[in-house]
């Protein structure tokens, strides 16, 4: 059972959604029209033992991550968050002080990023052997009245491919690392959208790893992506395979024409590849060039499955 197979089954229902759904499931956020107002929405979960180690990570950072990983989806659309809803299923012995610490961290993080928690739900597991599960839904709007959100599906042959920040090693073996403290790239995304306008063609945030996530752009844009291994910005001397596979980077990956700055505020931007027409469907949609060699990069990343 692989997450992507399950998601593909879900996307088969998209045709039935109706006209008010302007961006159906399959992008970083969906978009639905309420009257004249388009609203973006996404949901993300944080599962203890999978996305965070409760025995090694302070609850303040657990609550922070539950919110920020959802805000990274908002950044990927170049949108602005408006409000959040947070739900948690707790082990019955979690303790009131711990529960309050968790919710306070979620509240403070959501508030700081302009996405106050407007609704919530608390449930309890049957016994204490089961882990904390948080889910956060974020609602957002496009950043300007005439702007459309940036989807995964607009990359064009001739575009260059870019990433923000450095990649790899975000989830340390001891449970710590960048995944607990990252800043969702919302300001960078909106600045980019303002600078590039129509030339910013496709964007995604990097949660599963550059290989898998860039492949989502390639698949939905029906193009091939070529990444130059030597250009991938790696954290702390990691090699490009680790940088493309580790996941949990929460950086932006985007395809654009025009002139892209090499800094967005204090965040570096690196050109790592380019977009080609998709040839034979049997060829990989994501190629990594390492000198003379070409690797299939579409499976490089963290697959959520059993």
């Amino acid at each position: 059972m692989r997450e992507f197979d399950l998601l593909r089954h879900i996307y088969e229902h998209n045709d039935a959604l109706g006209a008010i759904v302007e961006i159906p499931p399959g992008d970083d956020m969906a978009m639905v029209r309420f009257g004249n107002q388009p609203i973006l929405a996404a949901v993300d979960q944080l599962v203890a033992g999978r996305h965070v180690e409760l025995d090694r990570v302070p609850l303040a950072l657990v609550g922070r991550k539950a919110i920020t990983r959802c805000l990274s989806d908002v950044a990927a659309m170049a949108a602005r968050p408006i409000a959040s809803l947070a739900a948690a299923t707790l082990p019955p012995g979690f303790g009131e002080a711990n529960a309050n610490a968790l919710f306070d961290a979620m509240h403070e993080t959501a508030q700081r990023y302009g996405s106050p928690i407007i609704g919530g739900d608390i449930a309890f597991h049957a016994d204490d052997s089961h882990p904390l599960v948080c889910s956060v839904t974020v609602l957002a709007v496009t950043s300007g009245s005439n702007r459309s959100p940036i989807t995964r599906s607009g990359a064009k042959p001739g575009d260059r491919l870019y990433v923000t920040g450095v990649l790899g090693g975000s989830y340390q073996p001891d449970g710590g690392g960048h995944h607990l403290t990252f800043e969702p790239r919302m300001d960078e995304a909106i600045l980019l959208s303002e600078l590039l306008g129509e030339q910013l063609h496709a964007m995604i945030d990097l949660s599963d790893g550059l290989g898998r996530d860039a492949a989502h752009i390639a698949e939905r844009s029906r193009v091939r992506i070529v990444i130059d291994a030597a250009r991938v910005p790696c954290r702390d001397g990691l090699d490009w395979r680790r940088a493309m596979s580790d996941g949990e980077d929460y950086e932006l990956c985007f395809a654009a024409g025009g002139t892209v700055p090499n800094m967005l505020g204090s965040t570096p931007v690196t050109e790592i590849g380019w977009i080609e027409p998709r040839g034979d469907e049997s060829e990989s949609m994501l190629i990594v060039k390492e000198g003379d060699r070409a690797h299939d990069g579409a499976d490089m990343g963290w697959e959520h499955h059993s």
Copy 2:
């Protein structure tokens, strides 16, 4: 650790939410304004072993309940659902066929009630000993351009108190029962709102039991509610204590002036009590009169705690 104590802590943050939040956490749904458009939102969870027994209930009904219990919150506001987001954390060995059956049931239920699933997330537990956790967020709009949603806080002394349907015994000892097959009272709520207009003062859906849920109306409206035990409509010969305590009824309880019909479509409406001014804070806000005796009913219901 009691759910209500945790929620009370969360509501302390409400003052910081800002002006766009028109109904803060603490009602059946929150309301936030996007441009000129008010949007209602709520999240609810379904935890295997707590809200549903996976080994005894078909997945089609599990998925149905994950959606309908959220739509019951929409009914409580007399609102109309527009879209849903669904997230699930699965045991890794749940199986693709089972996962698809669950998501198909959620999709079909959401679609049937006009609230298509526009976004989702799938995560996996670390091992198969942990239970399925679903969370569903529903987005809704008010049912007419000039209508406000019906909150818990508008009950007035002199109002009569009503419930739809019959209460108690919804969650059978074998895991079956009304809680798996109920129709969320959305049409009844909107009809009621149209019939009564400004005379429909406060409403809640009955999930924790009539005692606890009616007490939420009393608390937020700063009134006392008196329920006549003999008038409580009980399922299958249950007594009024069971009917007020069992929970999972997903019926409407509302306070209104004016003339209330005794049927809404094919759904019966029963007058069960009245609203009085709140006297001394030390007295109970929910009294059940049984002949000459008066019981404190505010704790009658299903408390979600350890």
